[in-house]
């Protein structure tokens, strides 16, 4: 007779021991499920349910007021058909692309990468100060950051008055270049995240590799392009996915700085959705826009994964 051990899962022989092992294994699964119930419930209620509800809503004509407020109907693809006939919708998509390329790709990913590379091998005090300032921008609450940039760039603002000391006329950037203004603000706010991710990843590249390349006569530019970037492909992928999704959904910063204006010159998709859902009370139409936003996010994520995963 083999004594069975107190701790479960120990390899024991004999049919009696095997069924006990199965019972123990099954119990482990049940225990696992029970432990996960709060998490599953939370995820279902606060993540899955709103997504499902918004998706369903986009096929109705539900609104917050008016005839279809309490008595709404299923209307199939009507909202989407209306969207694709709305020229403001296409303008909105274009502006979202500009916002994405400007503040996410260039302003955060590329610029964050550049910063991380530059901050490598610098004196500790310098990287602490620069890193600290950049991270400070990141932790400022979004609405405060928006107000700061509004104060910088609006009429009668800090920038305007400083320029006037040098007799340089200041054209209110929030009005003449609204997309540039919000790109700057969003890059300022978000670059810390990318910089930190890349700094951590760069630390994993062994210095010998770089030395070997230098000995072989490689320039700094070549080293970055041919060694650093290929090694960091998966990090770039993670960074792109995260900041793309965050940027597509960004609302507060833009709305507080320009209100989507002037006219609709900075009405990106998220602002367009807010206007339709809450200003015009057309919730179902707003839901349709948000479904499109989600689809764009999903498609872009797939594109990134395809583009960046294949290389070994």
């Amino acid at each position: 007779m083999v004594k069975h051990l107190q701790s479960s899962g120990a390899a024991v022989a004999g049919p009696v021991k095997r069924s006990k092992r199965r019972r123990v294994a099954r119990w482990r699964i049940v225990e696992g499920v029970i432990l996960q119930t709060p998490l599953i419930f939370t995820v279902l209620t606060f993540l899955a349910w709103p997504i499902i509800w918004t998706f369903a809503l986009s096929f109705t004509n539900f609104s917050l007021t008016g005839a279809t407020a309490l008595h709404w109907n299923w209307v199939g693809l009507l909202n989407f058909k209306q969207l694709f006939q709305d020229h403001s919708f296409f303008k909105s998509i274009g502006l979202s692309v500009v916002y994405l390329v400007g503040s996410a790709y260039l302003g955060q990913c590329v610029f964050g990468f550049v910063l991380a590379v530059l901050m490598r091998d610098r004196p500790k005090w310098l990287s602490t100060v620069v890193g600290g300032v950049i991270i400070l921008a990141w932790v400022v609450p979004e609405i405060i950051g928006a107000f700061m940039w509004y104060a910088l760039l609006s009429n009668g603002s800090v920038v305007g008055q400083s320029l006037s000391w040098f007799h340089i006329p200041y054209q209110t950037w929030l009005i003449t270049h609204p997309m540039l203004s919000i790109n700057l603000a969003n890059s300022w706010r978000g670059v810390a995240f990318s910089m930190m991710i890349f700094t951590a990843a760069l630390g994993n590249i062994s210095p010998e590799l770089m030395e070997a390349a230098s000995i072989d006569g490689a320039s700094a530019w070549w080293k970055v392009m041919k060694i650093t970037i290929p090694l960091l492909k998966s990090t770039i992928l993670v960074d792109l996915v995260l900041i793309t999704l965050a940027t597509l959904n960004d609302f507060t910063l833009i709305y507080a700085m320009t209100g989507g204006g002037p006219g609709d010159n900075s009405t990106v998709l998220s602002v367009f959705m807010y206007q339709q859902a809450f200003v015009n009370s057309q919730m179902a139409y707003g839901a349709a826009i948000s479904v499109i936003l989600q689809l764009i996010g999903v498609v872009l994520s797939i594109v990134y994964i395809r583009a960046l995963r294949s290389e070994g």
């Binding site: 029970i34 119930t37 939370t42 209620t45 008016g66 709305d86 006219g263 609709d264 015009n280």
Partner: protein, 470 residues
């Protein structure tokens, strides 16, 4: 293994159940910030009948004045219904419309009486959020409301509320600038050309001031539509909505005239700089900076801006009322009736899902009676919706401290109101605000603006629901 895993199971089970319970019932969000937190349903403890009133708390001052008014109403109503008590439900002003629209959907959260913007009444009636209260026509006070005030709360022949205040738009002109450039004081333009030539004269003779201030662009939204477009359209023969055919109007000679007027204002450089009108703070730029510095010759704004200049206002300025005079808004060519206006205002309505409709109606009657209402209106400085209130002591006091308001009666004579007959109004209004901005920037001609307007209205209202006036 036995005892330990037993405890583990009990602990896990208890935690799961408690979390499930919490997530399940704790998520009904508190959509109002009422101090006494029971929302909606009027309780009846020991015979007390509670009337909950939802109102926007734009500022602490407004909230306090509104509560004073509601308490005075309670006192007046208690003469007839001794057990009546009012319960305040202040709702944050920035998201007021969305919040009350959500609250009115369920009897658990709906207040009994709601303080609503008159141009939302038609869409709330369509939605079934507010109840028709036709018995109010038998109330002695009803006949004293201006006909426009009665029409504003009527939808499909039923009365859905009672106006408790109204406003009107005015032309403010600076007496010093006018005298300096040789324009007459007092001044009353007879048509739009008079306005344009006065502004041109100011531009010619005094380049340091803004000849004419008009609200424009989407940052100011409804303000631009109302004060930068509708006050002019109202002086033509076209209107935004045809009540007889129940269709939205997508174009016509009046629109043509109005767009051309706005284009002319831009072409002649008569307006304030773009940086001013396109800011979200345009109203305070005008009211709190430019006017006190007397840097604007002519301005189109609401009749109530004098609130800013009273001793308790945001920019106390005792000479305001002699520095600027009020003129009425003329019709385009001076045609009958000669002057025009567009009024808005707020009303009290009974919610469908509130508890006691009859008592709520009585509450509204008491709240809008002359004595109770005149004290409230004097404290918040708005125009009375009834023709029998101007002589009350409170109103007389208001006119004395804010002489511009005494022009209110004249401004209300030929006033019109906005067609809030459906959610299309807000979309069309946003479109108009955008067009006023394009015209002010010069990025669209009058013709382009008109074409844009026609295609927008046709797509917003649906081709079957819109027409072009001739």
């Amino acid at each position: 293994m036995g005892a330990r895993s037993g405890f583990k199971f009990i602990g896990v089970g208890a935690m799961s159940l408690s979390l499930l319970g919490l997530a399940g019932c704790g998520s009904v969000s508190n959509t109002n910030s009422s101090a006494t937190s029971n929302s909606g349903a009027s309780g009846s403890t020991s015979g007390t009948q509670t009337i909950t009133v939802a109102y926007p708390d734009w500022t602490p001052g407004f909230s306090k004045d509104t509560q004073t008014w509601l308490l005075a109403t309670q006192k007046k109503l208690q003469a007839q219904y001794p057990n009546v008590k009012v319960q305040f439900e202040p709702i944050d002003g920035a998201n007021y419309y969305t919040k009350i629209e959500l609250m009115m959907r369920s009897s658990k959260t709906a207040p009994d009486v709601v303080y609503d913007d008159s141009f939302k009444i038609a869409s709330y009636a369509q939605a079934g959020y507010i109840a028709p209260i036709n018995s109010i026509k038998n109330w002695s006070g009803w006949q004293h409301f201006y006909p426009t005030m009665q029409n504003m709360v009527t939808y499909n022949g039923n009365v859905y509320g009672v106006m408790n205040q109204t406003d009107a738009q005015a032309i403010y002109y600076n007496t010093k600038i006018f005298k300096q450039v040789g324009l007459p004081v007092p001044w009353q333009p007879k048509n739009w050309n008079d306005i344009l030539s006065a502004a041109e004269k100011i531009k010619q003779k005094d380049s340091s001031v803004i000849p004419m201030w008009l609200y424009a662009g989407t940052p100011q939204g409804e303000t631009s539509t109302l004060r930068g477009f509708e006050v002019f359209l109202a002086g033509t023969n076209s209107s935004l909505y045809d009540y007889s055919t129940k269709k939205w109007v997508a174009g016509g000679p009046g629109f043509n005239q109005t767009f051309n007027f706005l284009q002319t204002v831009h072409n002649k450089g008569l307006m304030e700089p773009e940086a001013d009108w396109s800011s979200a703070n345009a109203t305070s730029t005008l009211n709190n900076q430019l006017m006190p510095k007397q840097q604007v010759g002519i301005a189109f704004d609401g009749i109530w801006i004098g609130q800013n200049y009273t001793p308790s206002g945001s920019s106390p300025w005792p000479n305001a009322f002699s520095a600027y005079n009020v003129a009425e808004i003329p019709t385009a060519n001076g045609q009958t009736p000669g002057t025009t206006n567009v009024s808005g205002g707020w009303a009290l309505s009974v919610t469908s899902k509130g508890q006691n409709h009859a008592l709520a109606t009585k509450f509204i009657e008491a709240a809008c009676s002359t004595d109770v209402l005149s004290n409230y209106l004097a404290s918040i400085q708005v125009l009375p919706p009834r023709n029998d209130m101007a002589s009350t002591p409170a109103m007389q006091q208001m006119f004395k401290s804010n002489p511009w308001m005494s022009k209110g009666n004249e401004l209300l004579q030929n006033t019109t109101y906005r067609p809030g007959v459906g959610p299309q109004y807000s979309e069309i209004s946003t479109e108009i605000a955008k067009l006023t901005g394009e015209l002010a920037m010069g990025s669209m001609t009058a013709k382009q603006a008109e074409q844009d307007f026609t295609s927008s209205v046709t797509s917003i209202a649906g081709a079957g629901n819109s027409e072009t006036a001739n």
